[in-house]
Amino acid sequence: MTRRHALSITVLFEVFIFSLMIVSLTDSDREASYKENRTLAQRPKLTVKSLLDGSFAKEFEEYFQDQFPFRDFFMDTSFKFTTLMARKGEDDVSLVEGGEGADYDENTNIFNPPSGFEPIEPTPSPEPTVEPTMTPGSPQATPGEQTPTTTPAPTKTPVPTPAPTTDISYEYNQKFLRIGDRILEVYWYSKQRAESYFNVLKRVADELPNAKIYALLTPSSVELYTPEKYKGYGHSSKEAIDYLFSNMDKRINQVNVYDKMMSKKNEYIYFRTDHHWTQRGAYYAYEEFCKAANIKARKMNEYKKDTVPNFLGSYFKYIPDDRFRRNPDYLELFYPLANNEGRAYYDISMNLKNSFAVKAVRTPNEMKDYPAKYMVFMNGDNPLTHFKTGVDNNKRIVVFKDSYGNSLVPFLLSHYEDVYVIDIRAEKYLSGVLEFIKQKGINEVLFVNYVNCPTQSDAFVSLDKML
């Protein structure tokens, strides 16, 4: 090799690397990837705290990944290359590693309504004084003094509870099975994690002795749609659900929707590219809840329905196969039957300044330009959402939910005058929740979760801190 040749190869390398660097430094950040159907991470703020607790490095990593120049093109190339490297097996099945821990929050934009997805109504002009009736449940909060822009320091709850997070047997890695034109997330569960779920249920039952408490647990799609042959991998959701129900506090009313879901599996009750159930799935769960709560469920054909087309969900980004682009999911919408007004709040005192109007179910037109389409229900995940309905029956319920609850809540509006929805991961925003429930005269409590939530995540450790 001559010197000229060696130099040319070096130059090629440098040009590649530095042109990417220059584009990366000069291009503007995107808010969402329409190809991946999700919002992208934005530049994190550098503070001493975020630098020291490691969150800056983690967020910057996500930001860099998400805003890499020509990201969509590179993602596509990478997927095509991996497909090329795979040898076809006898079935139309592939197994894909997703990375560490669940990474779905962006799909419902947890607690972070991005620009471009403004609330339908403008937020009301800030109230100069805080209404005295809406003080937080904690005695430390001083009404009147509170400035709306700064969130009150989270008040310490007197009960110290251990967080069983250090004793997991191994780090959970997401794995996805693509079977035909459906993506399934392989399920694993940790009994240690479930302890925080039991703790929360027991605490709520202890502190609200007069309330009716319901726990609804549902499997995810992997339980219903994995062919017999591939069942040996991962754990059975049924086993986990049975374990949770048989070990929870006996005062809890159990709503086991497992059999119902199994019997309806031929209907469109789970998305093929997303980790959620469809609203039709949520409807069947609602029917089971009504049985347990002894109320008469509204018939499915009473609802006015609508369709949001072209939905590629959270699983799609791990397996961006063209077959899903050709044949995407869609959302079937059931509009609530009762008149209602919804509002999302970012603190327990229901401060109007940090709130915005929320529709239980948006129209397809309102979702047209937005990729994370599951946000059609209740504007995605917000810490506290309140629905005041036209039902005049003096019944009030609080729903503790993960994002599965978002599509179920619209059905509950027919049966309660007030529906309060609390996201179980909102520890940064809410505290003194039990006191809040007592003050509002709420005497029914419903936990809506898919089985992954109490058995894989720290969500109930978070809820425990909020109580």
């Binding site: 990201r71 190339t77 290359f81 490297m85 795979a86």
Partner: protein, 123 residues
Amino acid sequence: MKIIGWIFTSFVVLMGWVIFYYTDTASLTYMFKVLFGFSDRPVNDLFINLTINEYFYLLMAASVGCMPIARVVKRGLNNMYNSGRVKMEFAFIATCIFVLLVLFTSSAMLVAKSYNPFLYFRF
């Protein structure tokens, strides 16, 4: 004696990567248990096959790449460089295309999060 050196180095390097990858000791010990067969984890042939299928040709390429193939290729290229201008230019262009392709695919796979460019941030 050389072979003992190879085995020892490979072993240390492989174990080093495990330590490097995991940030918590629980996962680390679990991984070592799995590696040396002291775990409750079922060895499921179906899924091992599935995983191997998923990366089949990449694994083959990697296996070939582990052998002292670079030396053979280099010798071949040098012969071409020394046997006439046309062959020399051909060898040069082939090298460029190969280098660019590898660089490009690796970048694409880094972007797609198959690998983590920020591995060192974990410390």
